[in-house]
């Protein structure tokens, strides 16, 4: 499945990123690369997502989320 389909609270492993080379490279640089575990923190309009990569928060538009393949692991987010 792609990231756009993940509800808030989902923990998922990134499996593939199907984007142009430079956009793919930018995602890799900020931590969204194959094998990385990300957590969906918020769902925005039109499929956009805010994900947690470690303690970082990254906002990604819906079109790009559709190009990121993930495998859901579990749903959890610890309250502060």
């Amino acid at each position: 499945m792609d990231l756009r389909l993940c509800p808030a609270g989902t923990q998922a492993e990134v499996r593939w990123v199907d984007l142009e080379d430079d956009e793919r490279a930018r995602l890799r640089e900020i931590g969204v690369r194959e094998g990385a575990v990300v957590h969906v923190v918020h769902c925005g309009a039109f499929g956009a997502r805010v994900i947690a990569v470690g303690s970082d928060r990254i906002a990604i538009d819906g079109r790009t989320c559709a190009c990121i393949g993930v495998t859901p692991l579990k749903s959890a987010l610890v309250p502060a």
Partner: protein, 647 residues
Amino acid sequence: MSCHEPAPGVAVAAGTPTIALVGNPNAGKSTLFNALTGARQTVMNAPGTTVELQTGAWRRSGERIAVVDLPGTYSLVPRSPDEQVAADFVAGRGDLGRPHLAVVVLDASALARSLYLLAQVRETGTPVVAAVTMLDVASTRAVEPDLDALADAAGVPVVALDPRSGAGMEALGVAVERQLEAHVCRCEGCTGSCACANHLDVPVSRDDEERFAWTERVLNAAVPSPPAVPVRSTSDRIDRVLLHPVLGVPVFLAIMWAVFELTTVVAAPLVGGIAGFFNGPLASWLHGVIPGPAWIAGLLVDGVLSGVGTVLSFVPLLALIFVAIGILEDSGYLARAAFVADRALRAIGLDGRAMVPLVIGFGCNVPAMAATRTMPDARRRLLTGLLVPLTSCPARLTVYVLVAGTFFPRYAGTVVFGLYVVSGLLVVLGGYLLRSTAFRDLRQTRALVLALPAYHVPRLKPLLISTWTRVLAFVRGAGGIIAGTLVVVWLLSAVPVTGGHQVADVPVHDSLYGRVADGIAPVLAPAGLDDWRIASALTTGFVAKEVVVGSLAQSFSIDAGDTAATAPTGALGDKLRATLDESSGGHATAAALAFLIFVLAYTPCLATVAEQRRVFGGRWAAGAVAVQLSVAWLLAVAVFQVGRLLT
């Protein structure tokens, strides 16, 4: 690195050690820059680019250290002109020169991506000090990096820093001094063969996988036991509302509305007050006390003083907008605004950040031009800057009200609303056309990938320093052009070309300015506007749209201060109708629409052009003026020719 290469491109005095602040966007780099340099700052464009750099002086132990605040970047593999400037400067490529030292700002709440950038900076061979910020934010997310382990693993000096409170600044100063001591050559007449060259680091080249491995190794050393699952922070809870798919949009619109109100309701009285003071009591008093012939007082008061007054009248407006943008930026909301508005602006090749300058543009084009700086990509910044003049500012409203009220008294409100709709359509159409021509590189819709900073309460002092620096840059950069052009306009209108008049005491049509209007009028004939009074008003409108109605009144010999006469139903409206009736061959309504469209589409005002030139350079500003005039003429002609067939 060579210690013998100063940084000529950033105008640093020879022999002054130069440090560059490098970091991800929102890592706290600019806050650190403000804390280091105070008010000793200059805003400039990187040579040959429209990328803004801030340079300043940091005084340490009586010595001056030049500090360059580079654009925020995630990587030294550049993907925008701004990132290119940052990458070139750190690596010593291009015209910018090279820093003696890079202070890499590491965001503790996003340590992995910060370390990736650190890895790249180390590879350039430029000496490094790492400053770790946002430790408080990281702590709320249960991340407590061990900075000693980080320094050991990364092989660079590391200091903890909170630029907002000033904590850690002394430690940073000591670390920077030590590194400069080790790496900056102090020998006189150095040729590059001295012993200090032995201290220089050798650039190395690593591939991405090696860099990721290094990053992970250092991260594991610094944060050996990170939380398995992210902790929900206060920022996350706020974002549940501000980034909500439904609630996020009205909140965004409400904030944009507040900024718009700031440019109109709040700033307008201040702008009017300053302009009124310069053109009213001060001008009257100076007219009375300046000795000599009347033309000297006219030149000094109606030319020079009027120009200075115009420039200064923009100061409160710009200051308010810079403070507002600073608050949005500092608080962390600007990145969220880009996320929320992104979808709406994708159609014209811009990302969500363009919404802020475009909204401000409907309040005033001048601060909107300056507000483009919030966009991280120079090309998109330029594209937005070219679209801003198409947003209809309130100064044009005075013309709309007069003409719509005169020619469409029953539908005046609808006509004015229609003009705002046309303004929006012109922005969309302009964006589409520009992306199809000069901005083909922006045709591809790029991914929006934004690191969201934690929310902060903005700090007043850095906000005021930054506002002061930017307002000063406007006064210095755009002020001379505005004041100089107003003097030229005064001279043209003061010089008589027919007998029986004295200098500075001449009716408009008998002045050089009248002759210029006579020369322009035939160009407007295809739009049904072939009349010197219309041409004169439009020419004056190039300086400021607020004076178009006054210029028409003056040309028709009507007292501009007589509100009854200048109302749509007054003498001015009657004379305007008669004039357009004559100039259009009996199609006054079509000519009035053409006039309105021309006013909407052509150059908004001299101050906007001056600001456009300051931000984007003279070539783009001149090109923009030429295109705006051409587009306005073509639209006016089209509207008149079609309207003539229908009326």
